[in-house]
């Protein structure tokens, strides 16, 4: 996709603000706005112009849209286009859509001069080296399978969500991925990550990377932990390094088209 190379640029100033995330509908995280700004530059300026007023009668900076009121409407227009007009259908993944909409909602207020982009290649070096991420995570054919595979994290998670994961891991842990501690009736202990669960059984990948399916009736203890084993990088990485890491993670689009 044409805009991929832009994914390497994320704004440092945005990368360190982890409090003002999209806690409520209608609020947009700075990291998403910054990500969306880069995508807008790559995909939208040809028609809409840098200031959002390139199409006659349409002013994207006004915050009012002729064919959309809600973010869902905007998503529909962006991904489906508007038949009979020059607005074509765009193929964006979920993270990109989140970013584009966040930017469209904040075009007026967004200050491009206040931030510098992160560097995805530096972020990769961090990820594979000092960050120690591959000890638990996997990207492509490298790394461990104990923690969730990150090969497509840049497609399925928004910039804001990834950013927050780096400094507050537990807050962004999907409930299905929660660590579990299991004690079998015979006393055997299994530590792992939950993959699936139903009324009668639970499926995990254990700390030896084994896929294990257990019948709950056979368990003596079954504990679902809500604290992620992943460390926070808030104190161990500088703001620039966090921005680099975020840029790298956002570049991971995996097999998702």
């Amino acid at each position: 996709m044409a805009g991929r190379f832009f994914l390497a640029f994320i704004f440092i100033a945005l990368a360190v603000d982890v409090r003002a995330q999209q806690a409520h509908p209608g609020e947009y995280a700075p990291a998403d706005i910054g990500y969306g700004a880069r995508l807008y530059d790559a995909q939208c300026t040809t028609c809409h112009g840098a200031n959002g007023d390139g199409v006659g009668g349409v002013d994207l900076r006004s915050g009012k849209f002729r064919n959309a009121v809600t973010d869902q409407d905007l998503t529909r227009v962006i991904t489906g286009g508007i038949p009979g007009t020059g607005m074509q259908a765009f193929k964006f993944d979920a993270a990109e859509i989140t970013g584009i909409i966040a930017y469209l909602r904040n075009m007026n207020a967004f200050d491009r001069g206040s931030a510098k982009p992160g560097d995805s290649s530096r972020g990769r070096v961090l990820f594979e080296g000092r960050g120690g991420c591959l000890r638990c995570h996997r990207v492509g054919a490298s790394g461990s399978r104990v923690a969730p595979n990150l090969s497509d994290v840049g497609a399925v998670r928004s910039a804001a969500s990834i950013q927050r994961s780096l400094v507050e891991p537990s807050s962004q842990m999907m409930p299905i991925n929660r660590p579990v501690r299991i004690v079998m009736q015979d006393g055997r202990v299994i530590n792992g990550r939950r993959l699936n669960e139903d009324t009668y059984t639970v499926q995990v990948i254990d700390d030896q990377e084994r896929l294990v399916s257990l019948t709950k009736a056979d368990l003596r203890e079954y504990t679902i932990l809500t604290t992620s084993p992943m460390p926070s990088f808030r104190e161990t990485l500088r703001a620039e390094e966090l921005a680099d890491l975020l840029a790298y993670l956002l570049s991971l689009k995996g097999a998702t088209p």
Binding site: Q72, M174, P175, I224
Partner: protein, 578 residues
């Protein structure tokens, strides 16, 4: 038979001949009558459907919609011997919500998008398939679903996604008539199983999420002509219209002066019928737009209500509104369960209702009088009722979770009532909340008319929202978003008698039987038999796909069968041969 021995010895030839002729006529008449009785499903049979448990003649097993069967061959002692007898596979992917009918050994069911299939209820072999050709411009909210059929005489009736009502010859699968009920490109559709009462076929329309004006209508079963229509959104001059209040002179936020014209009020599921009162009862869907209630001031009758309609005229006898001025999409998309119970020592013609808004209700079904209202799951949008049964609403601050969530404490999934246990059984979503947010939306024909954003609440601060409602075989909602349960409630008080917990939520209906068995499924794909008195699991089978329909039971040649649908497979069980 030795005719000589029975003939009078001195009978003349002519007289003997006449007698023989008369005998033939009588025999032929008897044969014809018995064949007709056997083959046709007259109104009398529908009226007594529950007393004919070998068959399943209406969507909910009878006019009282109890989903309770008198069959007892399968019981707590032998249910462990259930085994799969046959399967029938559908070809079109998507939720399969139908409940089959069974008439004298023949099963009739719908499959996506609007097919009708007739098959041998013993073997699953197909007699015929009718395929309705849908209009290309049809718009359907919330899945291209169809929930089933009605039968009257030798004719089957199906509502279609492009808002037609079709009559089909039950013997041949050939269409007899096809009536357009409403305009499909405006968002009208029929997803419910029709209700046959006397000589009429009664249906309602879906499409509230596209800003329809809902209605219930009755059609002549022979001709397809409309006999009566009751709008669930009253127009000017009609009772209830004043519940769509005019906009203030200078509204602070967007207000729609014509809100009633696209006020929603869908009829998504089949109604019930009390022949003694000659009343049909229908659950009415949410107001449109779903979430931005500010733009439609007033209670917005008859949305989120039950309406009692005269079966002959469609005239409104009474209504009760469960959720006035709804901003949570709490439509009353439930089957009204009718039960004759003892209440405070006296007989009561009751209506039992576990509503999407999280409350269980007992109403007096002759007048609609409110008797009991009690939460069956966590509820914080309201806190109790006033003396007339109106909920005392307690809206939550912006950004805060509302219990139950958007999909409700329950939804369209059929509940069951067992007169033996006196329990009302409901599939429930527990611990489930949504953060609601309304936004103004102007009505445009055929366009989504939701008017807001809502997302499931996950009790992890700042965590990403859990995925949408439609999920695959991985339970990535987990206990963090919601869990499922079958709840057994005392039918007179709503008091919880037992709870069968499920890890994932459930969209499955419930069947109970006179042997005190309860059958149900769920998203996990287990088909389960539970002790209806205690809630103890007695048997289960893993069918490998979500069960989003209601189980039913029937009997052919002395053998009781239980059917359910998991994914694209209709699975039919009976006891293993000993």
């Amino acid at each position: 038979m030795n005719t000589k021995a029975t003939c009078p010895p001195k009978l003349g030839e002519r007289r003997r001949k006449a007698l023989a002729e008369r005998t033939w006529i009588v025999a032929a008449f008897v044969a014809l009558v018995s064949f007709t009785l056997h083959a046709q499903v007259g109104y009398d049979r529908l009226l007594n459907a529950a007393k004919e448990p070998r068959n399943w003649l209406t969507y909910s097993g009878g006019y009282f919609s109890n989903r309770y069967s008198l069959l007892t061959q399968i019981g707590p002692a032998n249910v462990k011997n259930l085994e799969l007898k046959w399967m029938y596979q559908a070809a079109v992917a998507g939720g399969w919500q139908t409940t089959p009918l069974v008439v004298d050994g023949v099963m009739y069911l719908t499959q996506r998008p609007n097919d009708v299939v007739a098959l041998d209820a013993k073997t699953g072999r197909v007699f015929w398939i009718y395929r309705h050709q849908l209009a290309p411009d049809q718009i359907v909210c919330c899945g291209a679903n169809n929930r089933g059929l009605a039968i009257l005489g030798d004719t089957l009736f199906m509502g279609t996604l492009d808002a037609h009502l079709v009559a089909i010859d039950a013997k041949t699968g050939r269409p007899l008539w096809d009536t357009q009920v409403a305009e499909s490109k405006s968002g009208y559709s029929l997803t419910l199983a029709p209700l046959a009462v006397k000589d009429k076929i009664i249906v309602g329309v879906g499409g509230g999420e596209y800003g329809i004006r809902g209605f219930v209508a009755a059609y002549n079963a022979r001709t397809g002509r409309e006999v009566w229509r009751f709008y669930t959104i009253p127009g000017p001059g009609e009772a209830g219209f004043d519940s769509w209040k005019p906009c203030p002179p200078a509204p602070e936020n967007f207000c729609d002066g014509d809100a009633w014209k696209h006020g929603g009020g869908s009829i998504w599921v089949t109604g019930s019928y009390d022949a003694d009162l000659n009343l049909t009862y229908w659950g009415v869907g949410n107001a449109g737009p779903d979430w931005n209630a500010d733009q439609r001031p007033g209670d917005n009758l008859y949305t989120d209500s039950v309406v009692a309609l005269d079966a002959d005229t469609g005239r409104l006898k009474w209504h009760y509104q469960f959720t006035p001025h709804d901003k949570y999409d709490y439509d009353s998309v439930q089957i009204p369960i009718l039960a004759d119970i003892t209440w405070r020592g006296a007989p009561l013609k009751a209506m039992l209702w576990a509503n999407r808004n999280g409350n269980f209700y007992v109403l007096e079904r002759e007048t609609g009088k409110f008797l009991v209202g009690r939460p069956f799951v966590k509820v914080n949008w309201s806190n109790g009722f006033d003396e007339r049964g109106r909920p005392i609403q307690t809206p939550q601050p912006p950004g805060q979770p509302t219990w139950p969530g958007n999909q409700g404490g329950t939804n369209w999934y059929s509940p069951s009532y067992s007169p033996r246990t006196g329990f009302f059984y409901v599939p429930a979503w527990e611990g489930y909340a949504t953060i609601f947010g309304g936004t103004p939306v102007e009505y445009q024909e055929g366009r989504n008319f939701g008017g807001g954003i809502n997302r499931p609440h996950v009790p992890v601060p700042g965590a990403p929202a859990v995925p949408g409602l439609r999920r695959g075989p991985i339970n990535n909602w987990t206990e963090a978003a919601a869990t499922g349960a079958v709840l057994a409630l005392d039918a007179t008080t709503g008091e919880l008698k037992w709870r069968f917990a499920m890890t994932d939520v459930t969209d499955s209906g419930i069947l109970t039987t006179a042997s005190d068995l309860l059958f149900t499924g769920g998203r996990e794909g287990y088909f389960q038999a539970i002790d209806a008195r205690t809630g103890t699991l007695l048997w289960k089978a893993s069918l490998g796909a979500q069960i989003v329909s209601g189980p039913m039971t029937y009997e052919v040649d002395g053998r009781q069968y239980v059917s359910t649908i998991a994914g694209l497979s209709l699975c039919v069980f009976s006891l293993r041969d000993q």
